[in-house]
Amino acid sequence: MITVLGFSLLAFAGLLAGFYMAWNIGANDTANEMATSVASGALTLRQAVAISATFNALGAVFMGARVVSTIGKGIVPQVEPIGALCAVIAASVFVTLATWKNMPVSTSHSIVGAMLGYGLVGVGIAGINWFVMANVILAWVLSPLAGIAMGFFVFKFIRGLVLERIEDVSKAERGYTPLQIMSASYEAFATGSNDVANAIAPVAVIMAGGFASELKVPIWLLAFGGIGIAVGTLMWGYKVMETIGKRITGDITPTRGFAAEYSAATVVLVCSYLGMPVSTTHASVGTVTGVGFAGGLSAVNLRIVGRIIAYWLLTVPIAALFAMALFKLYMVMI
């Protein structure tokens, strides 16, 4: 058997693909949560990258081990190693395209789409868990709407409690800066713990030689994913940060940024607690839009919001098509 650095060829390819997926998570997902902090001036881009790298890695290493439930959210219950590899490459390529176009998309949904594509070709319609797909569709509607409502009311509350009651508004903004940094740090921790599995789970499946109900994930693999996320944020994070932080609604201040970040964390928690499917990316875009709406309808760039929604709707079909093409190519080659 051919080996590279002590790994089988398939495992080595899995590691490379996993790192590429982690890089994409850093460039797209992590950039989401740091966007408002950078836009408000609470953090410089370099500080945001340093903080997100630290907290992502901590989240990945300490909390990222629950792999099984997150691999494509179980859309294909029986995954072959080669199917996992095709899915992670296909999902990564789609997220790279979206990031290149500065669009925030859900990496979880792209891996669900890619697994769906592999599943349709590899195991057939009967082998797909359609309940997972229904949850994804529900999340498209639920997450942004809940985010808009929460962001709107939290910012209205802060405006009534603070901004309208003190004369020096800049003082209030200064006071909210550390709160915004704390919120962003926590969101980075949560992303590290939740999303590192999107990159590492397929690698774990490949290394285990197939899907198993109990997959042991070594710490070095989680740290490897954490490093990939940090590199992605450093290299391309600015692209999505600019869209969320500056183009949805202009003039993000620390109070607005805090309202958006706090609301996104709360929406994700409450929806998860109630058993409703929710996407962090969609919730974050929703809360920034909601905070923008608090300043009036004209404060939100509806053209950009429309483009973002179009990318969300395209995530699953395009990632599925990429995965189908890759798996078909593999079938032709062997």
Binding site: A42, L43, Q47, I51, F55, L58, F62, M63, A65, R66, S69, I158, L161, V162, R165, I166, K171, A172, R174, G175, Y176, T177, P178, L179, I181, M182, S183, S185, Y186, F189, A190, S193, N194, F258, Y262, A265, T266, V268, L269, S272, Y273
Partner: protein, 61 residues
């Protein structure tokens, strides 16, 4: 693990809500301006986050 993360998030949201409320109430005071140095507040907020996460992780990890 999912329950652990939920507990940590609940604690986190409670703690940040209290911090936000305290900040909002302290803003009108004159003393606030004396210690609101951006660099010190930024660094201490990152350290505070780390400490809180470590405590929460020890409690539920």
């Amino acid at each position: 693990m999912k329950e652990t993360m939920a507990m940590i998030t609940i604690c986190w949201i409670s703690w940040i809500s209290i911090a936000a409320l305290a900040t909002s109430l302290m803003l009108p005071s004159k003393r606030f301006s004396q210690w609101s140095n951006r660099r010190i507040m930024g660094t201490s907020s990152v350290i505070a986050t780390l400490v809180v996460l470590i405590i929460l992780f020890i409690l539920w990890g």
